[in-house]
């Protein structure tokens, strides 16, 4: 028989036949690895998450009618849009607002281009679906709560049209939006639907534009539109962009600190567990020495067990850590986490090294004791 075969038999015997002891150790290692991979995943994903979070603040420039003008026309908007750098436009969503009633309760309805809204307001969390066909609407959560609507519910909207006649139209609720802002009090439908109900077209109250450009470029755009398109007044909306960097670094260093502290704690926890598990086996070490095992081969035996434990614990930790990070991400950011594949080897390696070192410390001290002393006890 090869030496390795016996070596593996000894290690697997120890791991399998001392199951309950090994499970405790495995659990300790797995928990450590879980915390490590979970926090690393979050740490790694924060810039992406927060970037989306910040970009989510959507429109950074709005167009409103100038002076006493009641509304903008599509032509005005087109004229203003000519001043946007073509390749930096993320989305342009026109809105027309109108008071309507559902069950005799007044609400504000907005007609818009829903496909563009999706780009200018990516932070909208839609429970249900974005409308894809005429006659379906999105309502804010506050509205849905007030009149007890669920995605798929029918609803009838009544109101007074442009010529003073009353109208009543049936819609289907395709989704409920959560934004944390005043959008939750609105009903959103396609511009076409609203225009059909109102009986007139080409009235735009405001246009929200999301443009990815620096502050100076935006300033230039604003002044050019202001001077060249009299019907339109452009306004810059302060996005969080300026402070984005600062907040991000602070947040990330906070998570980094937490990761380091928790990692240290779990390392100590794993190490003490492993030490206890190994120290229990001083007799076995003494016996192996009495049988003529060199210190190196005893260390090799325990290291082998430690590595297998570390690898299995690490693997478990990768899986559990991902679930943990996913849960955190869904709760905090409302978005799934992206999982970095390099985390798998990093976690496994860290877990193997920590477990191995934790094994070595007590084995090294036990190995130097005379076998006579160890075997004498009892």
């Amino acid at each position: 028989m090869k030496k390795q075969t016996m070596y593996l038999r000894m290690i697997s015997g120890s791991l399998i036949r001392r199951r309950s002891r090994m499970l405790v150790a495995l659990l300790a290692v797995a928990i450590g690895a879980t915390v490590l991979s979970g926090l690393l995943t979050i740490y790694h994903d924060i810039p992406r998450q927060m970037g989306q979070e910040f970009r989510s603040y959507g429109a950074n420039l709005i167009l409103v009618p100038s002076g006493d003008e009641p509304s903008l026309s599509a032509a005005d908007v087109e004229e203003a849009m000519a001043y946007f750098p073509a390749d930096s436009v993320v989305g342009i969503a026109p809105y027309r607002y109108q008071t309507v009633k559902i069950n005799e309760q007044p609400f504000m309805a907005a007609g818009t281009d829903l496909a563009e809204v999706k780009k200018t307001s990516p932070y909208w969390f839609v429970n249900g679906q974005w409308p894809t066909e005429p006659g379906s609407v999105l309502v804010g959560e506050a509205v849905a709560d007030l009149i007890r609507l669920l995605p798929g519910s029918p609803l009838t909207i009544t109101g007074t049209d442009a010529s003073g006649k009353s109208f009543s139209r049936d819609f289907t609720l395709s989704g409920i939006i959560q934004t944390g802002g005043k959008e939750e009090e609105f009903i959103f439908m396609s511009m076409q639907d609203l225009e059909n109900a109102m009986g007139n077209a080409d009235e735009i109250d405001v246009v929200e534009c999301s443009i990815s450009a620096s502050g100076e470029t935006l300033d230039a755009i604003v002044s050019r539109i202001g001077t060249n398109v009299p019907a339109v007044t452009p306004r810059l909306v302060k996005r969080v962009t300026q402070s984005e960097g600062a907040v991000l670094t602070k947040l990330q260093s906070l998570v980094y600190l937490v990761t380091v502290v928790v990692l240290l704690l779990t390392m100590i926890c794993v190490a003490t567990t492993m030490m206890a598990v190994v120290t229990e086996r001083r007799k076995e070490i003494g016996l192996k020495k009495a049988l003529g095992a060199s210190n190196e081969s005893i260390i090799k035996d325990f290291l082998g067990e430690g590595i297998v434990l570390g690898a299995f614990g690490g693997l478990l930790g990768v899986i559990l850590g991902f679930l943990f990070a996913q849960a955190v991400s869904l709760n905090v950011f409302n978005r799934p986490i992206s999982f970095g594949l390099p985390l798998i080897p990093v976690t496994m390696l860290a877990s193997i090294v920590i477990t191995g070192v934790a094994c070595l410390i007590p084995v090294r001290s036990a190995v130097d004791v005379d076998p006579a002393v160890v075997l004498r006890g009892e």
């Binding site: 028989m1 009495a290 049988l291 003529g292 210190n295 006579a372």
Partner: protein, 226 residues
């Protein structure tokens, strides 16, 4: 020819003089019994001879070389190559089967050989227990596994510290039978025992008292044809 020679060997633990000025020679192929009250230094002497401990004073010559000045590393090698140890408390590895426990000794010595290990178990009458864990074996069976393990590398010296101390009479007889057979085959055996009947089986008995040799007696038994 003397396989083992102790010259003025003493061992002092702090204020306890566990062994004092021991002089002793053991011939190749001899079966020696060591008796004496508890605390008289029997285990201490066995540990020194078994390269598990070093004397405070004196020389221990095993197979022509003084082992009392060796480094721990060399002592481990000598123990592995020349000595078979049998303990009173068996000391088996609890997560390995009987067969694997025997193979561990081969593993640390040279190469594990399952067939040979199996033969060693057969020899102590345990071939049908090879796949059992120590916890599934009786005390007598565990001790026989220890003997198989001690013999597996053909040691020149077998050291047994109260091998029958924890066994009933039936198992004691099984173990003694194995020793008799080993003796006939020419093994050198040193057995520590409290049991005069066990001691009588040996060719010579020494009695320790307070770390000194108090008596030496030759046994003339029918079963020592040599």
């Amino acid at each position: 020819m003397n396989l083992l020679e102790l010259k003025d060997v003493s061992k002092i633990y702090g204020s306890v003089k566990a062994l004092q000025h021991i002089d002793l020679s053991v011939r190749q192929g001899e079966w020696l019994a060591v008796m004496g009250p508890s605390g008289s230094g029997k285990t201490t002497m066995m540990n020194i001879v078994g390269c598990m401990d070093k004397p405070s004073n004196g020389a221990v010559i095993l197979d022509g070389a003084d082992i009392s000045r060796e480094t721990p590393k060399n002592l481990t090698a000598i123990r592995r190559d020349k000595i078979g140890l049998i303990f009173q408390q068996f000391h088996l590895i609890n997560y390995l089967t009987a067969l694997e426990n025997v193979m561990v000794a081969q593993y640390y010595h040279s190469l594990p050989d399952e067939k040979e290990a199996m033969q060693a178990l057969e020899r102590v009458g345990l071939s049908n227990r090879a796949k059992h864990l120590p916890s599934q074996l009786s005390g007598g069976e565990q001790q026989r596994v220890c003997i198989a393990r001690a013999l597996i590398n053909y040691p020149m010296l077998i050291l047994a510290d109260e091998p029958t101390g924890n066994l009933d009479e039936t198992n004691e007889n099984i173990v003694l039978d194995i020793f008799r057979q080993l003796h006939r085959e020419g093994s050198t055996i040193i057995v520590v025992t409290h049991d005069p009947e066990v001691a009588e089986e040996a060719q010579r008995t020494i009695v320790l008292e307070h770390g000194r040799i108090a008596a030496i007696s030759e046994n003339h038994q029918k079963n020592h044809q040599k």
